[in-house]
Symmetry: C2
Subunit: 221 residues, 2 copies
Amino acid sequence: MTRDTVPVATVRPLRRDAELNRRKIIESARIVFSERGFGATLDDIAHHAGLGVGTVYRRFPGKEHLVEAMFVERMDEIRELAERALEESDPWEGFATFLVGTAELHSADRGLREVMLSNNFGQERVAAAKERMIPLAVELVRRAKASGQLRADFEDTDLPIIHMMIGSVAQYTHDVRPELWRRYLGVLLDGLRADSGRTLSPEALDPEALDVAMCAWKPRQ
Amino acid sequence: MTRDTVPVATVRPLRRDAELNRRKIIESARIVFSERGFGATLDDIAHHAGLGVGTVYRRFPGKEHLVEAMFVERMDEIRELAERALEESDPWEGFATFLVGTAELHSADRGLREVMLSNNFGQERVAAAKERMIPLAVELVRRAKASGQLRADFEDTDLPIIHMMIGSVAQYTHDVRPELWRRYLGVLLDGLRADSGRTLSPEALDPEALDVAMCAWKPRQ
DNA sequence: CACGAAGTGGAGGAGCAACCTCAACTTCCG
DNA sequence: CGGAAGTTGAGGTTGCTCCTCCACTTCGTG
């Protein structure tokens, strides 16, 4: 090794056709995962992209890697959503906007929903993206409670559970009325306003318990 | 055939040991289906009953038959629940009692939930049992709306969707906090009281669309 | 008790689906 | 033009569920 050898950037760029195919794969993965979730196989994605299976496996060692590559940016979308929601002057509006916005993303992209609600997909980078998002969501909740508009017994861990509920409706009625979930999110939001004077029971999950649930959950069909 | 041949009651009774085993199978099926849903195989049930697979297949031609034999009575439990709820003097209490009671049954029995929310399990007799139950539920909704306590834009088809939501939470947190679904049913009930003054959108499913959704839904894991 | 009918067990075949490999072929680009 | 890089898809492997089959056991009647 001479002194001139550049130690970084050892990865030489892909051949032009290969780079094109890589993009086709990612594009197809986005579409297929969003429609059918991670139940979809790499074979499905290859077929959708008009490529052989081998090509996909050459580029991505396994489904995990493709997922990783794909959802970090989607999760950053959610983070941006939270940032914009925090700019809302009315804390309740901010909270509600965030909830509706994330539900829109979840209901339009089944893969995203599965990544967000399960801890079985994507490791490092996805987890990191989640971590980046959480404090913003926590702050949205805090503000809405402090303003007296969100019921005081609401907890941070209620957020993913609500997404789980809304997502299951979205999936159930997807072929028949893709927007129906808004109806039930409406009921939930009405139920979450502070004015009811009632108290929720039992208590919400603590973060550890939520983590256990997320690790155990493996979606299918 | 002589005149004396009795045309009915041609089925001769099972041998004593066989009858015992039949009961074991049904008992095991109840337990296994309620824990793991219809994803469970007849092999699983046989093993749980301490019998060979062949024995199960000899008695029940397929999973469908076992399901049919098993859930008609469970659905009648729900009907009785509705009957009792109709006896409540306060219409809202009746409505809420019914919702909590059915959710309790669903969350304790994954198989029951799957039968209720999908049209892919059990045919004739299960469908008939559902039909018997529906008018009672409709009446519960009608009364609660007429009393001005249930929001006026609530529809009959909201009931199964709410069960879908609650059931998905119950499944998600089953191993960690089996009773947590009550918390979210609480939020929903608060949101369903008439006093919010807000209006749900979009509109609820019509019964035909609900049927399509139920036919398409096949639960897994 | 003894015998035939009824019932049982569980290894294993058939069928399917997902995952991934590999060797023959094609394309790129210096 | 030559060799490195890339592509292909039939098919091997694994893992699952469903269900059959027949040698074996048990029942209960004459």
